[in-house]
């Protein structure tokens, strides 16, 4: 989306339309001793049509579990422990019967995973796997679905779609498999695409191609994309807004320009500073964040980042800061933030 389009929508005011995806108070607490494992600890955010929200965080921050909870792809017993609201186009989906949810999956919302081999069926040809959702959700006949599959493979940049459609996944290179999975995910032109580290397993030249492809598809289909990654450089180039997660919570959320120019949370700022950049004069040392991310069962009272934070005051160790709006489109959870 262009900046002009964003501001036009902002001017129209929030009452104009409901967001495509609205997540409120999402929680996943696993009972454990001495304290529950708070894998997701109260996550709320909105995502609009045509918009890409980057969800960034280190391992264990809860970003993938957030995605799986929205998709309702968690397995028991975890699936039974998810709390909170997820609304798609204003319709609450957390309480939908599995049959109805499954009718939405693939058609209205779909997901791209890091490792395509785990989500592609190894004993079914690629063409069949792409055709299947089109037959199921769009009611296409076998022949029409097969030709639609080849069309999708061409759309995701596969040069010889007929050969690839007839191949089994293991015969394809990593980049081709990832393209095939994206073709499966967009087969029914979903309104929401959740991409979980879609390029992390790929070589850098292929990563650039896949990210460009996702951007092109978004412009063409108007889909909303939730882009989950640990790579802030990928976020900078591909997201409109970014939400930074730490220890199961969103700690700061802002448009990418605002976050990269002036992150206010000490963790977000530290994370940005520690990215290695290719620079002519290199610093003697990369800025580092001391310590380690606390395990979900070993979270301190108060702000989970406080033990690693140079700015932490006594309140930070006692009381977890809520995520509050600090400026239009900027939310922050910190008692001792940097100036905006």
């Amino acid at each position: 989306m262009t900046a002009a389009a964003t501001s036009a929508r902002m001017d129209a005011g929030p009452a104009q339309q409901v967001p495509l995806l609205s997540v409120r108070g999402l929680e996943l607490h696993v009972p454990s001793s001495p304290q529950a494992l708070r894998l997701i600890d109260g996550v709320s955010f909105d995502l609009d049509r045509g918009e890409t929200l980057g969800l960034v965080g280190e391992s264990g921050s809860g970003k993938t579990l957030t995605a799986l909870s929205i998709m309702r792809l968690l397995e028991p017993p975890l699936s039974g422990l998810v709390r909170g609201q997820v609304a798609l186009d204003g319709v609450e989906v957390m309480a939908l019967p599995e049959g109805e949810m499954s009718a939405l999956r693939g058609r209205v919302l779909s997901m791209v995973f890091q490792e395509p081999m785990t989500s592609l069926n190894p004993v079914m040809t690629v063409g069949r796997q792409i055709a299947e959702p089109a037959m199921r959700h769009l009611g296409l006949g076998a022949a029409a679905a097969a030709s639609r599959a080849q069309e999708l493979l061409r759309l995701v940049g596969i040069p010889d779609p007929a050969r690839v459609a007839a191949s089994h996944p293991h015969l394809l290179s990593g980049g081709m498999r990832q393209r095939a999975m994206i073709a499966t995910a967009i087969a029914c032109r979903p309104a929401l695409l959740i991409a979980d580290e879609p390029t992390t397993a790929l070589d850098v030249t292929v990563q650039a191609q896949i990210l460009e492809l996702l951007g092109d598809l978004q412009r063409e289909l108007g889909s909303a994309i939730l882009l989950i990654t640990h790579d802030l450089a990928v976020i900078a180039e591909n997201a409109h807004r970014v939400a930074v997660m730490y220890a199961g919570r969103i700690i700061e959320e802002a448009p990418v320009d605002a976050l990269f120019a002036g992150a206010r949370h000490p963790y977000a700022r530290g994370l940005l500073a520690s990215i290695p950049r290719i620079e002519r004069a290199r610093p003697d040392a990369l800025p580092e964040i001391p310590g380690v991310v606390p395990a979900p069962g070993e979270r301190p009272a108060g702000c989970a980042f406080a033990p690693r934070c140079a700015r932490a005051a006594s309140r930070c160790h006692a009381e977890a800061p809520p995520l509050v709006q600090t400026a239009p489109r900027h939310r922050l959870a910190c008692w001792e933030p940097f100036d905006g």
Binding site: D231, A236, F260, I275, R280, V292
Partner: protein
């Protein structure tokens, strides 16, 4: 220029492709196909490239963890490419490796103390007391608390486990350390800690590093010189600054153009290399990069380019690059 510690020339490592019931040999992968490189004492040479380019196999061949098919490997002035395992023993302690995933390379049933004293036992160095003292010294060197010696690998985070892997590699005071994607599996805030630690230890101990990585931004922070590999061959070697700011090979340029930059709105129209990296079992003719190269000519498909020096220390293997 410091003294050359490692000198590799014409290195080839070929693996047979076997198929069928009788495991007949049906072909050959030229994983490493004529590699030349030098590493001086105390410097870091980065070996970069995408999957299947042969960088890891090159690193393992240097350490003689895989057998070279042809070529010369001189370490400290002595030829080691064709020595048997017993004759290699004195060299083993002088060169070590750090792996990408320290967890899979640390024995889960041994305490960290036992893991770190194993190298001394294998090489029969010191008595129990001396070994304990050396383990304590190693832990301090990599920034781990002393009580870590009594704990097991699974009790540590990824970054801490990589510190253990580094401590083990440094136990016998090696002169050369090969790092095989040592920070690739780590979160970005932890990655910075390990990069800084490795640079600090290099200065302190005068180590030479061969840093194998696909992450060019990390490489730009650790390397003195960079060699870029593509399908078994080095296509460009240059000092750090010349490589990152004056790359000449079209593959190096494509690789650099593909690195995402942590700057919003900086996204350029990229000269993204077309297609995927071909299988090393069936490399293209001539210059291996020619099917993906925007500049390729007929000559590129016919004939493999020979690396030529275009500036001091800057070598490029490309028909289209004139000195």
């Amino acid at each position: 220029m410091a003294e050359t510690l490692l000198s590799v020339s014409g290195l080839q490592v070929h693996f047979p492709i076997r198929a069928g019931l009788l495991r007949r040999r049906v072909g050959m992968v030229r994983a490493v196909d004529g590699v030349d490189l030098d590493v001086a004492r105390g410097e870091t040479l980065a070996l970069v490239g995408e999957s299947g380019c042969g960088k890891t196999t090159t690193g393992k061949a240097i350490l003689r963890l895989v057998d070279p098919t042809a070529g010369s490997i001189r370490f400290g002035g002595e030829e080691i490419a064709r020595r048997g395992q017993r004759e290699l023993a004195p060299f083993r302690r002088r060169m070590q490796i750090i792996f990408q995933d320290p967890y899979s390379s640390l024995n889960p049933r041994m305490t960290v103390g036992a893991i770190l004293s194993a190298p001394f036992e294998i090489h029969r160095i010191g008595d129990a007391g001396q070994r304990r003292a050396r383990v304590a010294e190693l832990l301090e060197m990599v920034g781990l608390p002393q009580e870590a010696a009594r704990r097991y690998p699974h009790e540590f985070s990824g970054g801490q486990r990589q510190r253990i892997g580094i401590a083990r590699a440094l136990a016998l005071r090696p002169e050369l350390v090969v790092g095989d994607e040592p920070v690739s599996a780590l979160d970005v805030s932890i990655q910075a800690q390990i990069v800084n630690l490795m640079r600090h230890l290099q200065v302190e101990l005068g180590l030479a590093y061969v840093m194998i990585s696909h992450n060019l931004a990390v490489v730009s922070h650790v390397a003195d010189r960079v060699a870029v590999m593509y399908l078994g061959r080095i296509v460009e070697t240059a000092p750090r600054e010349a490589l990152f700011f004056g790359a000449r090979h079209p593959y190096t340029q494509a690789l650099l153009a593909a690195v995402p930059e942590p700057v919003p709105g900086r996204r350029r129209t990229r000269h993204v290399a077309r297609g995927d990296v071909p299988s090393p079992a069936r490399p293209p003719s001539g210059c291996h990069f020619h099917p993906r190269c925007p500049l390729a000519t007929d000559a590129c498909a016919r004939e493999a380019p020979v690396p030529r020096e275009i500036a001091p220390g800057h070598r490029v293997a490309c028909h289209l690059v004139q000195p």
